[in-house]
Symmetry: C2
Subunit: 216 residues, 2 copies
DNA sequence: ACTCCTCTTGTCCACGTGGACAAGAGATTC
DNA sequence: GAATCTCTTGTCCACGTGGACAAGAGGAGT
């Protein structure tokens, strides 16, 4: 039925399909048969590429985040620090955050996923620390301890994302305001400097807009 | 087999058992049969009390949080503001946070759970705002907008909890430090004033210590 | 044309799932 | 003591699950 693909392509196709389903249904609810149906093959084939369901979802998460973050670092180095900072603080689209939140709880039962999560979280934090360093170097802001400030702001962004995306307690504008305000305060930036520059979800989304949910 | 209980007792027993399992396995993995086995009854009985699995877990979460928070408000009003603040910011035990994190992602697929989550999150935030008000009234701190500061600190605490409990990126001391420092900074409190007073998890835990995990 | 080799399929299994339901057990009421 | 009501049980169902496996399909290399 399905035309024969190069193994690498097929693999990637499976990982993509997996993430699409994880974004919609959560890690725990994605079955091999769902993934197979999404790809358009028989469920036995999924097992041919990934020995267990756990490995499949962990690898899919890792690949997806890797893709999501690819190139961001170079972009962040090129644009001016304020824009890089504002982007870092606010541009993660909603469906990506659902996956992160789900990963937080799923990681307790999936060591591979935990490892991936730890690695990428640390990576994101380092990137923010680098932006803060550039900010300090160029005299646009001040930070005694970029790593500590990055850690605090990372936590704040995650917590605000929960309030916005998961609980729906605040809208996007409020979420931006809280985060920008805290960053300006913490980094000695004149209030009102940080603004959202990129439109939401400039990067590719996992869940097609056709699925019916709003993009934000 | 199981001795006959008053309906209300039996109900509560089922809700307790459910939360114990949710804390261990996550919302998505708790089955009616698991709950029945935990209580020591037949799985049909669970259905007698709760028509669907969704309602069971949502109600269990609601009841558990209600119990967890009961009395805290009165305590917070009695003790001095610094202690109330420090307690609010840091005393939630690990297994409780696992449940909260799990609820964040589960809420996307369980409207009742979302409603409960929204309600309790708002409640927690209000309680913190009240503590901040008392702080300002007594001249121990300053806040132009207690609600906004409470929102920001709530988000920070949640985000730090993710880094500590879920990802294991930082230890408890670091987590405390970040949160206390941010609160002191935000509320005009002299650095180093806030300290952890209560031992961890003074309140009842959902997962027995005998389960093997550390209490923190 | 032939042989490999890997991708791909279809089918099988034992098991667990949420849900349904009739029958039984216990207390309460009359 | 009999009727009633609700809690409780055991058993049944159709379905979906992860996993296993033999057989087939289709290129690549010779």
């Amino acid at each position: 039925m399905a035309t024969r693909l190069h193994p690498a392509e097929r693999r990637e196709q499976i990982l993509d399909a997996t993430m699409r389903l994880v974004a919609r249904d959560g890690f725990a609810r994605v079955t091999l048969r769902d993934v197979a149906a999404e790809v358009g093959v028989v469920h036995g084939l999924i097992r041919h590429y990934f020995p267990t369901r756990e490995q499949l979802v962990a690898e899919a998460f890792d690949a997806a985040v890797r893709t999501e973050l690819a190139g961001d670092e170079e972009v962040a180095e090129r644009v001016e620090p304020f824009e890089a900072l504002a982007d870092w603080l606010t541009t993660t689209p909603s469906d990506h955050y659902f996956v992160w939140m789900d990963a937080w709880s799923e990681a307790q039962r999936n060591p591979e996923l935990l490892a991936s999560l730890t690695h990428h979280h640390r990576d994101c934090e380092h990137r923010l620390a680098r932006i803060i360093e550039r900010l300090t170097e160029s005299g646009l802001g001040a930070s005694d301890d970029p790593a500590a400030d990055a850690k605090m702001l990372t936590a704040l962004v995650d917590g605000i994302a929960v309030q916005h995306h998961a609980i729906g307690l605040i809208d996007r504008a409020q979420a931006d305001r809280v985060v920008y305000h805290a960053a300006e305060d913490r980094l000695g930036i004149r209030p009102g400097t940080l603004t959202r520059s990129r439109p939401t979800a400039a990067r590719g989304q996992w869940v097609a807009a056709a699925a019916g949910g709003t993009a934000d």
